[in-house]
Symmetry: C2
Amino acid sequence: MTGPAKSSPEVEFWFEFGSNYSYLSVMRIEDAARRHGVRIAWKPFLLGPIFRALGMETSPFLIQKEKGAYMWQDMVRQCRKYGLRWRQPSSFPRLGVLPLRVALLGADKPWIGAFCCRVMELNFVLDQDINKAESLAPILTELDLPATDILNEAQAEPTKTRLREQTDEARTRGVFGAPTFFVGSEMFWGNDRLDDALLFASEQRS
Amino acid sequence: MTGPAKSSPEVEFWFEFGSNYSYLSVMRIEDAARRHGVRIAWKPFLLGPIFRALGMETSPFLIQKEKGAYMWQDMVRQCRKYGLRWRQPSSFPRLGVLPLRVALLGADKPWIGAFCCRVMELNFVLDQDINKAESLAPILTELDLPATDILNEAQAEPTKTRLREQTDEARTRGVFGAPTFFVGSEMFWGNDRLDDALLFASEQRS
């Protein structure tokens, strides 16, 4: 669990549990960040309000049929490339507001990476509903965490408000999809830019 | 000029001179394909009719302001990464129907790569109109080619028809942006997938 020191450069990692390309980054980022000596600031947010603010009722992959069809092909190949398991979810995009709230509570905790990986696998490997307490409690318990307390806090008003505020911040900063990475004000969009973002962050060390 | 043998695996390279991400691939593909021992089938096509068929009046980068703003930032960094020169064009997306017709005529010729690179640099480095004979003639002449003959043939009806047909083929095969690569029926979208496409092609050799 020892990560880069507090003084290390940082990359902000904006992600959504319903987002398939966020799945790739969630699974890769801890190892990759360690190799670059970069700290991760985990930033869960809701894509739905972002898409709606941009005039889209749902995921662009549903709105643009051709791009959606391609994306499923691409995911098979990308997962093979990265050595990740993959099953196309029977429901897409899955609502992940509850696990996002939990991730918000855990953002600074040592269990954040493991928790996010498990939720992503629930969605993109096990093809299961990720938006209910019964799905998340076993994950938290397996991580030796007080599942009931965390899930209660996740569903309390202050947490809901914080997730809305974090989503507003994403929109204000020009986020239009996930995953998105920030190094200071420099924005990087998409799993394909994860390594570029980490390299850029590591070069900020002076 | 000696490229991979005729029996080598092939990647189809669908590109547009107005497309900024096509610029990156045009500049990179010949070296990269040589390294992988893969032949390139150059497939110029028009993006405009593809976007219109998908219900978009123009480039998605103009329609989605946020994504467009990001894209210009991304291009600066990508060009730096690949060691390419870059100037944001004062007109975007530039119409490139005439050079696309020339590229159609040259698709199987040894000069195709060099011609495409020069046109791309005219657009994305020198910020000049690429859609007129006076812009293209010096490029063809510098390549020791009969500029007048080629430009006449490019503007003749059969060439116009062929470019329309090639654009129809792109749409039929599910192309929704550029650059796009095909290895057989396997489609790869975007400059970020150039290396994946070449690797996939090279693995088809058995």
